[in-house]
């Protein structure tokens, strides 16, 4: 299968801190990959680097669907078909859910009615219909994350990047989210998730990449990665195992 995303030697130094070091990985089209690692491992930074929010250090390369993305602005990257969510949801607070999602939908057509239609579809897809006219700042944290997924979907991406969309969910909500990701994958989308919820990762991801201190320490099928001694050491070493799997983790 063709590669959707090929990242080569992705690096980023903030002052004296090497946040990401020569990180390379690739994702095949229609694959669902999980990016995991202890807190501060550089997962969210990698998302920022890929989607143009931080500029990677020289020598880094990010190729999506055959095109180099380094140097492009976030809106260009979104227009090219990579959509993301933020670890802490960032809804447009004074806009209703519908207006939020329509803002995303305008990327693929500036007609008001058509955008409203596409936005309603995306809202229905994440199950927020009942809240369509609620101002986004009045939503619960969980609904704000749903909203952000709908907003990303409305841009009609080929590759979706979800940053801890399941943190803080209860088991039945996790099942819903897993089903949602399954449905998206069924539509042919490529998906990368940053996640701490192991149950969800095992359910949706066909492959796992593990980051620790900005470096890739393991990669492979979920079962083999989770029994890799380096991975276990990275997690136990950082005290991760002591934390509840569904806890929110600032990264």
């Amino acid at each position: 299968m063709a590669d959707a995303l090929v990242v080569r030697d992705l690096s980023k130094r903030f002052g004296g801190l090497l946040a990401v070091q020569s990180f390379s990985f690739s994702v095949a089209e229609n694959e669902t990959m999980a990016l995991i690692g202890p807190n501060g491992a550089g997962k969210t930074t990698s998302f920022h680097l890929i989607t143009g929010y931080h500029r990677p250090d020289p020598g880094s390369s990010v190729v999506a669907f055959g095109r180099e993305l380094v140097g492009l602005k976030p809106h260009d990257i979104c227009a090219f078909g990579l959509a993301r969510t933020f670890q802490v949801a960032r809804p447009f607070g004074h806009m209703t859910v519908l207006a939020n999602v329509m803002t995303g939908a305008f990327l693929r057509g500036r007609k008001l009615e058509a955008a409203r239609e596409r936005a309603r579809e995306a809202i229905a897809f994440v199950g927020l219909e009942a809240r369509a006219h609620t101002p986004a700042r009045d939503l619960t944290t969980i609904d704000q994350r749903r909203l952000e997924m709908a907003r990303a979907l409305a841009t009609e991406p080929r590759l979706l990047m979800f940053d801890e969309v399941m943190a803080g969910l209860n088991p039945s909500e996790i099942d819903q989210a897993v089903a949602l990701i399954g449905k998206l994958s069924g539509r042919g989308l490529t998906i990368i998730i940053i996640e701490h919820v192991m149950r969800a990762i095992m359910a949706v991801a066909s492959r796992i990449v593990v980051l620790d201190h900005g470096q890739k320490i393991a990669e492979g099928e979920p079962k083999e990665v989770m029994s890799d001694p380096d991975v276990i050491r990275a997690y136990l070493g950082s005290g991760y195992a002591a934390k509840p799997a569904a806890g929110e983790a600032p990264c």
Partner: protein, 334 residues
């Protein structure tokens, strides 16, 4: 938008009829003068509001565009005999063109420092026109030759005619805002005003939209500059680039209801009528009083009712007719 939903066409039509017929009912030119000021500053406020209200880029330097528009048409008229009607459009174009480099500098800063950098640009322009006499008459300024009743040169014998020009400008700005508000651009403006990074994440080209709305806002403000100078027959840097213009543009929008179609109009009506009443009570010596009252009204709005007069009216309507949930802030709906 909840609360600022365009009133039914009937309402707008009635308002238009009243606005057009009003000068006929005015006993003295003093009142027509107030109406001209209301129409003009509403117009400037609506222009400011596109950038400051919807996109939340709080400019305090709109005098730059007002002054550039004013000087462009005046130079064209006095030195080259060009009609101010053409000069006005040219002034708008010059103001819009100037917004590009000004935006390139000022948009590097956010929030309060954006506001300060816009003050600085307007001040620089004023100082340049004061200092370099070769540019245009230096500090003394110049008077516009009075041609009597010359509509083609935007000079009228009847005060009411000036009022209709200002009213027409206001109508144009309101229609432009109305069209933007219910198009993709309105959504993009509000979104980037809320969170620039999140707007970029859904494909909004934030720098480009800011540039565009700044240019539209500057263009309209430039038109106002031409009109004002034609109305008072005099120009100098302190008048054309007056900081008070920048302040009033922002003030009327905030007091009336920031980021709403009718907010600047309501705000201007309140402030200008207050100011006119003060003037008739206190005569000429009202220097500090007027701005003191403005400042107190502004503080009251910020601390008590950030949605401004529009918010008050919406509440009143909801209390009378039931309906909508009370909301302290303006919400943009799909």
């Amino acid at each position: 938008m909840a609360g600022t939903r365009i009133p039914p066409g009937v309402f707008v039509a009635a308002l238009a009829v009243v606005a057009v017929a009003a000068p006929l009912a005015m006993p003295t030119p003093f009142y027509v003068d107030i109406m001209i000021r209301v129409a003009l500053f509403s117009f400037i406020g609506v222009a400011w509001n596109l950038l400051g209200g919807y996109a939340k880029q709080l400019s305090l330097g709109h005098a730059a565009f007002f002054g550039l528009g004013a000087y462009t048409s005046t130079i064209l008229e006095v030195n080259y005999g060009v009609s101010p009607w053409i000069g006005m459009l040219a002034g708008g174009v010059v103001a819009a063109a100037a917004s590009l480099p000004i935006g390139a500098m000022c948009f590097r800063l956010r929030g309060p420092y954006f506001a300060i950098s816009t003050i600085a640009t307007a001040q620089v322009l004023m100082l340049l026109f004061l200092k370099f006499r070769g540019l245009a008459w230096g500090a003394e300024g110049t008077t516009i030759p009075n041609l009597g009743d010359a509509p083609l040169m935007m000079q009228f014998a009847a005060k009411a005619a000036y009022y209709y020009v200002a009213l027409a400008l206001l109508a144009v700005a309101l229609v432009v805002t109305w069209l933007i508000e219910r198009s993709w651009m309105g959504y993009y403006l509000v979104a980037l005003g809320e969170d620039e990074d999140a707007a970029e994440a859904v494909g909004v080209n934030v720098p480009r939209i800011k540039r565009h709305v700044f240019a539209i806002s500057a263009f309209l403000t430039g038109l106002a500059g031409t009109f004002y100078i034609q109305y008072i027959y005099f120009i100098d840097p302190n008048t054309a680039f007056s900081f008070n213009i920048s302040v009033e543009a922002a003030l009327v929008s905030i007091v009336g209801g920031i980021g709403t179609l009718w907010g600047p109009v309501l705000g201007t009506a309140l402030l200008e009528v207050t100011s006119a009443l003060l003037q008739s009570w206190l005569g000429a010596g009202l220097g500090g009083v007027q701005l003191t009252i403005y400042a107190l009204i502004l503080m009251a709005v910020i601390l008590l009712r950030p949605t401004g007069l529009i918010g008050l009216l919406t509440d009143a309507r909801d209390r009378l007719f039931g309906g909508g949930k009370r909301t302290k802030e303006v919400v943009f709906d799909g």
